[in-house]
Amino acid sequence: MSKDVKIDIQHITRVEGHGNIKIDVQSGELKECKLEIVEAPRFFEAMLKNRHYDESALITSRICGICSVGHVLGSLTASEDAFGIKISEQEKNLRCLMNIGEHYESHVLHIYFLAVPDFAGAKSVLPLVNTHKDVVVRALKLKKLGHEIGNMIGGRLIHPTAMRVKAMTKIPTPEILHDIIHRLEEAKTELKKDIGILKTFIIPNFERETEYISLYKYGEYAFLEGNIYSSDIGETSYKNYLDITNEYLVDHSTAKRAKHNRKSYMVGALARFNNNHQWLSEDAKTIAADLGLKAPCYNPYMITIAQFVELFHLADEGIKAAQSLLDNGVELENRKFTIKPGRGIGAVEVPRGILFHDYVYNDQGYIQKANCIIPTGQNLQNIEDDFRALVPTILDKSKEDISLMLEMLVRAYDPCISCSAHILNVEFE
């Protein structure tokens, strides 16, 4: 088809940060296709220099208001890797619960408040309050469960303070653990009420196979420990994460990009699902099958569905972790250890994908060098490559429909371009 289409979307809405889309098709040929990032690059790596190990996790928790626990987990794991600390089973279970809280907060925000309006044909969640008030109220309740787990285990509603190198400074009572089990069971019941609605969504029929990268530990749907797995080449030690990420800059974006075996790769819920689906809980597997999510899935619009499936798996994992803490008893652990100078790497799965924190410590426990690679940076080139594959197939649609499909695609990846500033803009007349 000979067609000219010029799309220039300034500030993609309902994305955590600032991003622009530029598409230029001349006589049916794609001349330009860019996802521009206009947000300033992150300065947290510089800010971490000369910081004590007890401070680094707290600082990185402010990189993002949504993934604050994820950055804490990445940071602690890197510090423990540097100091040669092995955390206890109790600590693993407590961190598992914190991770579940964070995924509930983030996935619920993305599924219900940022992505659902697209599938429901609404401009934002606001009109849905009138048509689907029960769903909006349920979503708020599910998101709240996420923060409350953070508060009950992590010591603070927002930006937890109890998570420290080696062990938590606070432990939950058996009553709290029973409450968490009860509420995670309730969450699954609540989520099931929305399966019918999800089934009514028309998910664009677009597939592009790419390289899927996630954390990997045989026998687990890995979130907090393991090596790196590529659907192209298999397992790589987390220590060699730089061989995977190969960061580079492009001139139209201030955010770094990543590539591995191909021009681009995908991280996040769909990459985790494709690589680790066999280790999802039985309930999560049933929900996935019911919603038509089958591995390998090459449709990036299905990321939202993969996130929904993960909520079931995470609830089951949380119930298991809390039960194990109840069975074995919880006690405050000795936090003493010897500081060792050297390098440590933390690789964890956060809601948007695999996150790397890499620190070099001196013999006093102060960071000399820091490198943080966030999931969104790793996904950027993959989104642009999706654009290149998608645009030629939808040129028969109106400019508005093409724009919407591209925006939906960006939103499906749930990018967090930079939500680390929060400013309210108002205009007084």
């Binding site: 955590e16 800010m47 402010r62 930006h159």
Partner: protein
């Protein structure tokens, strides 16, 4: 939706690692050291939607935030969401995914009856970094004074900071 808590909740919104954006959390930290403040305090961070859960639990909420009002840096304006709702710029509604502006709209749509008063401070610099600009730092004691007065007046706008 019901609000059960008769106490006032003061929420400081923002990121302490984005310079003046950190005014909200900075004020909360200061208030935590002042025993005479009879209110619950919350460092709200930057996840706007989280705030709904806390707003709905209280009958009265004061929000402290760096607000881009197109005014000289350091200027303080007190306003309620209803007073500015129609004046929120369209694009700013979207730039933070689900920011404070959407939250305030959602509070209204969900018929949450909490009385909200915003104390907005025009920032000078919200780039990455720690610490407040001098012009903002010089206003700290004034902000604290306004908060105390606002509490005293049960969330009525404080002259001469009120809108218009």
């Amino acid at each position: 939706m019901s609000n059960s808590n008769n106490k006032v909740l003061i929420i400081g919104v923002g990121n302490p690692y984005r310079k003046d954006d950190g005014i909200g959390p900075y004020i909360i930290k200061l208030l935590q050291t002042q025993k005479e403040i009879e209110a619950d305090l919350l460092d709200g961070g930057t996840d706007g939607l989280t705030l709904i859960d806390y707003i709905k639990e209280y009958t009265q909420v004061i929000l402290i935030d760096a607000v881009n009002m197109g005014k000289p840096a350091g200027e303080i304006v007190c306003f309620s969401p209803a007073e500015v709702q129609l004046k929120i710029k369209n694009d700013s509604l979207s730039t933070h995914g689900f920011g404070l502006a959407e939250v305030l709209k959602l509070v209204k749509e969900l018929d949450i009856k909490t009385k909200i008063q915003i104390i907005g401070i025009q920032p000078q610099d919200i780039s990455f970094g720690e610490g407040l600009s001098k012009v903002i730092n010089d206003k700290i004691s004034e902000v604290i004074k306004i908060i105390k007065k606002t509490l005293e007046m049960r969330l009525k706008c404080v002259m001469p900071y009120q809108l218009k």
